[in-house]
């Protein structure tokens, strides 16, 4: 940014806001570290409960993000490119899981897919039980996190100039290939960013999971549930678990960003 008369004030304000926001977010995170009693760390890192919960958390959130990305991408694309009746309504439905308090979301999932649920009773008759399984953890995560990916993907697809898609078609690419080789790479920046947020939301998911999947060690007890359960006896333990979760997530997200930048994101010019 070069300096101009009003530029200086504005630049200062921008920097101030920047620092404010970063401080506001970093300070609570840092406080977790500052106020922590670090005694038990070694023990926790190898405790089977923690190892199980970590494994389960990363497994389920990876699967649910995969599901969200694979099934959400067509949804985002359709909503970005096509008009159909009640599109606004359907597009908004997809956002609604964000508004519902997670425990109610879990209850809604139970009412839909539980053994006595609207759909679940029929699945149950076929011998399929979803609730209170690892599958249910994934379903809960997909439910609460999908809006974050779909919304961002939709915007990114909308911002891809159709001229590129048309050019690809004239060069012999089918709609699918056009989508894969042209639309997706150009929108990649936004897709990765949406996937990261959606994954993070899945990883942090608690309320819907404990209601719909229960709190079973090794099967449905993800890190947030382990943190909650630990809170019952020992706040320090739950904070320590939170720090472990946050630290690992931090590393994963930074790594994804660095990898993405190297390989995928198009340079702006």
């Amino acid at each position: 940014m070069r300096r101009t008369k009003d530029g200086k004030g504005i630049q200062a304000l921008a920097i101030l806001f920047f620092l404010l926001v970063v401080a506001f977010i970093v300070l609570p995170l840092a406080s977790l570290f500052i106020k922590m009693e670090w005694g038990g760390l070694q023990g926790y890192l190898s405790a089977p409960l923690v190892v199980d919960a970590l494994r389960l958390s990363f497994l389920t959130s990876a699967v649910s993000t995969l599901i969200v990305v694979i099934t959400g991408t067509p949804v985002a694309y359709v909503n970005a490119r096509f008009e159909y009746p009640a599109k606004d309504a359907i597009d908004t439905m997809i956002d609604l899981p964000v508004v519902i308090p997670p425990a109610v979301a879990g209850l809604a999932l139970l009412m839909a897919f539980g053994r006595r649920g609207v759909l679940g009773q029929h699945l149950n008759a076929l011998g399929i039980d979803l609730a209170f399984t690892t599958m249910a953890v994934i379903m809960a995560q997909v439910f609460v996190s999908s809006p974050f990916f779909i919304r961002q993907a939709r915007t990114s697809f909308e911002d891809v100039d159709r001229a590129y898609e048309h050019a690809a078609r004239t060069l012999g690419a089918s709609p699918l290939k056009t989508f894969m080789y042209v639309t997706v790479p150009i929108a990649m920046n936004g897709l990765v960013s949406g996937a990261i947020l959606s994954w993070a939301r899945a990883l942090g998911e608690f309320g819907a999971t404990i209601m719909f999947a229960g709190n079973f060690e090794g099967r449905t007890q993800t890190m947030p549930l382990a943190i909650y359960t630990a809170m019952q006896g020992d706040i320090d333990a739950s904070i320590l678990l939170s720090i472990i979760l946050v630290a690992i997530s931090f590393i994963v997200i930074v790594a994804v960003k660095m990898l993405t930048r190297r390989g995928l994101i198009i340079a702006q010019d």
Binding site: A167, T170, L171, G172, I266
Partner: protein, 235 residues
């Protein structure tokens, strides 16, 4: 060989053209905004006529009455877009290789074709550059190479030489001419340059506000005085 009879309501006027040509290259000329690009888009399948027929050689691309509308990728047209539409995330090489790859050319042939087209236009040295990081003229050359490397059966070119320096223009014009002759390809070329029209055109159609205002064999049309539009070149 080429028959375009289409209508379509545009924002400012209704496009209503009838273009028929039996031999060689059609040159479309006309004022800015007269509908030339729109005609090319319809032939390519990117814009849809409200009604009409588009036929190239024996193939019907579009026929509103028969309900025919061949998908873009099955028309096998090569299109040099007015604004190039190079894929910004790909290298020059990958842009030019896109067509052959999509049409299933074996890897060896892909490379051969890309090299041939890029070398002809002096762009082989820049094959690894990102397409978004080129000068205006370089982009236009890549757009041309991309179009030709796909070996289309119909060429659509929207002011394909407008950003080239004089020397490259002359050379590229003769390249295009040769491609058309060798491939027995019909071609529709939009240009504002008399030189292009004289060199490349067999038939010339002059458009005005969505209609064909004049048409004829190139050599006859382009004599000074045959139409007010042509006259403007000589004022």
């Amino acid at each position: 060989m080429l028959r375009i009879r289409v209508t379509r309501a545009l924002r400012d006027f209704t496009l209503d053209v009838d273009i028929e040509s039996d031999n060689g290259t059609v040159v479309l000329m006309g004022n800015n905004g007269s509908g030339k690009t729109t005609v090319l888009n319809m032939v390519a399948g990117i814009a849809r006529p409200d009604a009409g027929v588009i036929k190239v050689k024996e193939k019907t691309f579009f026929d509103s009455e028969a309900g025919i509308d061949v998908p873009i990728e099955d028309r096998n047209v090569g299109y040099v877009f007015q604004n190039y539409a190079l894929f910004p995330h790909m290298s020059v090489y990958d842009n030019v290789a896109f067509g052959p790859r999509m049409r299933g050319a074996p890897p060896g042939e892909v490379e051969e074709r890309v090299k041939h087209e890029l070398e002809a236009l002096g762009m082989w040295g820049l094959r690894d550059a990102k397409a978004s990081r080129l000068s205006g003229g370089q982009k236009q050359k890549v757009a041309l190479a991309r179009c030709l490397a796909a070996r289309p059966s119909l060429l659509l070119m929207d002011e394909p030489l407008s950003a080239l320096d004089a020397e490259t223009q002359a050379w590229t014009r003769s390249c295009i001419k040769q491609h058309i002759r060798d491939g027995h390809m019909p071609a529709i070329i939009v240009t504002h340059s008399l030189a292009d029209a004289i060199e490349l055109g067999d038939m010339v159609f002059i458009m005005d506000r969505g209609r064909v205002a004049a048409s004829g064999r190139a050599d006859e049309m382009l004599k000074n005085g045959s139409h007010t539009f042509i006259n403007s070149f000589f004022r």
